[in-house]
């Protein structure tokens, strides 16, 4: 039992290190968590595309993809090793994860060879960015409850409706979308799937402002958007099957929780006075610190168990499903507790006055969303209980009923 690489892993890691040190700048670890870019999104996108092209050239942009698609034909553990090493470098992130993690894998499975010839490499090299258009205002946890409709018109389809929570829609070139082609059959059976050019007339994109003030997500409106039938993926009415390809890749694409953690809380507790004395001497503060330390370490070593499985060429066990269930509430509670330590001044959300640039306050606000995005706490517990523990699904009243006869808001 150790944390060491196998000889093969060590070799791959040193190759990666060599390449990275030749091609990127090491991260300034003295100021790790504060290292937020001040550049505009457009500027960052330009940098990200350059870096992506470089990575793809070297084969590191899609390590596990087959070489025919520009991948390295490598293993999952190699992919992890690359990420671990890249994390030490100051490189742009956050533009291609959904496209390469979810959209292109869906294309590779369902599009024609010619289409993949056309689209995979430009995506891999960062020339074209992709987004995923699934969620809708009335279809969140229940994705298949979507209402955006498509209607056949000659060789084309006309799409009308609204998608929501689309990351990066405003800078994306292409998207994959699931729509309802037949509302008279049960809901999973009337869906049809397409990919489309995000510049198609009739698409309107509006940013969604979150309570934290940020807006990484968009609403996307479709008004008579025309998509050729050749851009359909899978058969008419088989869109759910195609969606599952995408969704199966989703959990891999969503990272673990980041943000302030026990280290920062420890620092705060050392530097802050409670009414009775230094916070770090308070046994209630100590209990909380210990609890969150233990949770963080538990998640870290759970990842190590997953990596061990990957390293042995096994499929990781279900233990990887617990990350977000633990880290979401922890982010919220830890932020809240750190504000408590700051007393009345804990309400300050001021980069200069609040400890660590108001990181605790920002996290407390943001965590309310983190517990929801990508699967609510409640949905994740359903997933664990059903897919890991084998407990029965809840009673489903929507399985055999035509979609347009289902109860819904305003129609009960």
């Amino acid at each position: 039992m150790d944390f060491n690489d196998t000889p093969e892993e060590a070799k791959f890691r040193s190759e990666v290190r060599e390449w990275l040190s030749a091609n990127a700048r090491q991260r300034d670890t003295s100021n790790a968590k504060a290292g937020v870019s001040t550049k505009s999104e457009a500027e960052r996108l330009v940098r990200a595309k350059e870096w992506q092209a470089k990575k793809a050239e070297a084969g590191y942009a899609a390590i596990t993809w087959p070489t025919e698609y520009g991948g390295l034909g490598g293993t999952s553990i190699q992919s992890v090793i690359y990420s671990q090493e890249e994390a030490n470098y100051d490189v742009p992130r956050g533009f291609f994860e959904i496209g390469l993690g979810m959209c292109i894998p869906t294309m590779m499975k369902w599009a024609t060879p010619e289409q993949n010839e056309r689209f995979v490499k430009p995506a891999l090299f960062g020339e074209e960015v992709w987004c995923q258009l699934f969620s809708e205002p009335a279809a969140g946890s229940d994705v298949a409850g979507l209402r955006t409709k498509c209607e056949r018109d000659g060789d084309d389809w006309i799409i009308n409706g609204q998608k929501v929570w689309t990351s990066g829609a405003h800078f994306c070139d292409y998207g994959i979308i699931v729509t309802r082609s037949d509302p008279t059959v049960p809901k999973h059976k009337g869906l049809t799937f397409f990919f489309l050019d995000m510049k198609t007339p009739g698409i309107e994109i509006r940013p969604i402002k979150q309570i934290s003030g940020g807006s990484g997500f968009n609403e996307v409106f479709f008004n008579d958007v025309r998509v050729p039938d050749s851009q359909r993926l899978g058969d008419v009415g088989e869109g759910w099957k195609v969606s599952l390809t995408t969704l199966m890749n989703e959990r891999l694409a969503i990272g673990g929780g980041s943000g302030v953690d026990y280290e920062e809380l420890l620092k705060l507790a050392r530097e802050t006075e409670l009414e009775e004395g230094p916070a770090i001497k308070d046994s209630n503060v100590r209990e909380k610190l210990a609890d969150w330390y233990v949770q963080s370490q538990g998640l870290k070593y759970t990842k190590f168990r997953t990596l061990t499985a990957l390293s042995k060429g096994q499929v990781p066990g279900a233990e990887s499903s617990i990350g977000k269930i633990v880290s979401g509430p922890k982010m919220q509670d830890l932020g809240s507790f750190a504000m408590d330590i700051q007393g009345q001044g804990g309400i300050l959300q001021d980069g200069d006055e609040s400890p660590m640039g108001a990181a605790f306050q920002n996290q407390w606000l943001g965590a309310a969303g983190y517990r929801i995005a990508g699967g609510t706490d409640e949905i994740l517990r359903n997933i664990v209980s059903e897919q890991v523990l084998g407990l029965p699904q809840d009673i489903r009243v929507d399985k055999n009923v035509p979609f347009n006869e289902l109860a819904s808001s305003g129609k009960k």
Binding site: P137, G140, G145, G343, G345, L348, E353, W364, S409
Partner: protein, 374 residues
């Protein structure tokens, strides 16, 4: 057994509720959130005009001459709509401090204006992100002059008078005193600060040889402030109870309106039990707040204990309800355009406004130790 508000008090409550439902919708609160305003002036003026600000101030000082119970019912309604007004700082803190500790002159000077709402008052204790205590207050008061920096001060930009916790040179708890400062003088500079709840204005205030006068006896500021805080804790608890009920109702309504997998999400146990837990916490908080109100109104000896109980219970109820109200809403819940954020922000503001729950738990147990209940 008559552990309830009187019919007159309930009528007052209805009056407050109707006014606020009409004038202080979430859209109205949003105008403050999205502007630089420190508070909603029309709502504030309306509350003043209806006599709520003067409710518990004696008639001889321009008030209505009612008592704490009347303030409590108003507070619950203010909390229900997350009202963006300086009621708590001006009334629960400044006016109550003056009533309890002020000389006749101070009362005559300030209470009538606070009662009518002609001016706003506040209390300034904190000096940045740490708990104020007699050990660490750096603001000084000597020879009639106040020097130092207070941050965050609720309604500090718009207030005309502040009660300030200042070091007056004694030792231990006797190191600090409360002083009254006219904020409109030259020696006072102030600037707005950003907080987690922009619907309530807060400021940084710097005192540079500002004229001030003692409130009560020098060296007894800490005891006096604790007494003022205890009263305010009960009143804030009613705001928290009102906010909790609003968040619970908002979550409940949404859970009945929203469908997933062909069913109202309010039919799933994960949601049902979450809402049941909100309700349980709300009822405990309400009961503890009622007791706090009764003791405050009767000026009972166990105010500290009753106030701490009310505050701890209501802080926990509002925290949970506001936080889980967002969760019940799912994605829409954490958007700017939706309303759950008002209670999420306000719940944390109120949780910290008089110091954290831990602080009050410690205070509570200190009282239990004294009372020798075991």
């Amino acid at each position: 057994m008559n552990f309830d508000f009187s019919d007159d008090q309930k009528m007052l409550k209805d009056q407050a509720r109707k006014f606020l439902e009409d004038k202080c919708s979430y859209d109205d609160v949003r105008t403050v959130l999205e502007s630089d305003a420190s508070h909603h002036d029309e709502v504030w003026q309306g509350l003043c005009d209806l006599g709520f600000t003067g409710a518990a101030i004696p008639e001889q000082y321009g008030g209505v001459g009612l008592g704490a119970l009347e303030l409590c019912v108003v507070a619950e309604e203010l909390g229900r709509c997350a009202a963006p007004v300086p009621f708590s700082s001006s009334i629960y803190m400044a006016a109550e401090a003056l009533k309890i500790g002020g000389s006749e002159t101070l009362k005559q000077t300030w209470l009538p204006k606070l009662a009518s709402g002609e001016i706003i008052g506040t209390l300034a204790a904190a000096e940045g992100p740490a708990a104020p205590s007699p050990r660490n207050i750096k603001t000084t008061f000597a020879n009639g002059k106040l020097n130092g920096r207070k941050l965050p001060v609720p309604d500090g930009e718009t207030a005309s008078v502040a009660i300030v916790l200042a070091n007056t040179g004694g030792t231990g708890e006797q190191a600090v005193s409360l002083v009254v400062v006219d904020l409109t003088q030259d020696g006072v500079t102030r600037s707005s600060v950003e907080t987690i709840d922009p619907t309530r204005g807060h400021a940084e205030i710097n005192f540079d040889n500002a004229d001030a006068s003692l409130l009560g006896v020098s060296g007894e500021g800490w005891a006096l402030m604790k007494r003022v805080e205890a009263g305010a804790a009960v009143l804030v608890a009613f705001e928290q109870v009102g906010g909790t009920e609003a968040a619970l109702n908002m979550a409940k309504d949404y859970s009945l309106d929203r469908y997933a997998f062909g069913r109202q999400i309010g039919s799933y146990q994960a949601i049902k039990h979450k809402l049941a837990d909100m309700y349980v916490k709300l009822e405990l908080a309400r009961s503890n707040a009622y007791y706090g109100a009764m003791v405050l109104a009767q000026e009972g000896a166990d105010l500290e204990l009753a106030a701490a109980s009310a505050r701890i219970s209501a802080t926990e109820a509002y925290r949970f309800a506001a936080q889980e109200c967002i969760q019940v809403h799912g994605g829409i819940g954490f958007t700017w355009e939706a309303n759950p954020q008002f209670h999420y922000r306000r719940s944390k503001l109120l949780a910290l406004s008089l110091g954290s729950a831990s602080r009050w738990k410690n205070r509570l147990v200190s009282e239990l130790e004294k009372s020798n209940v075991a």
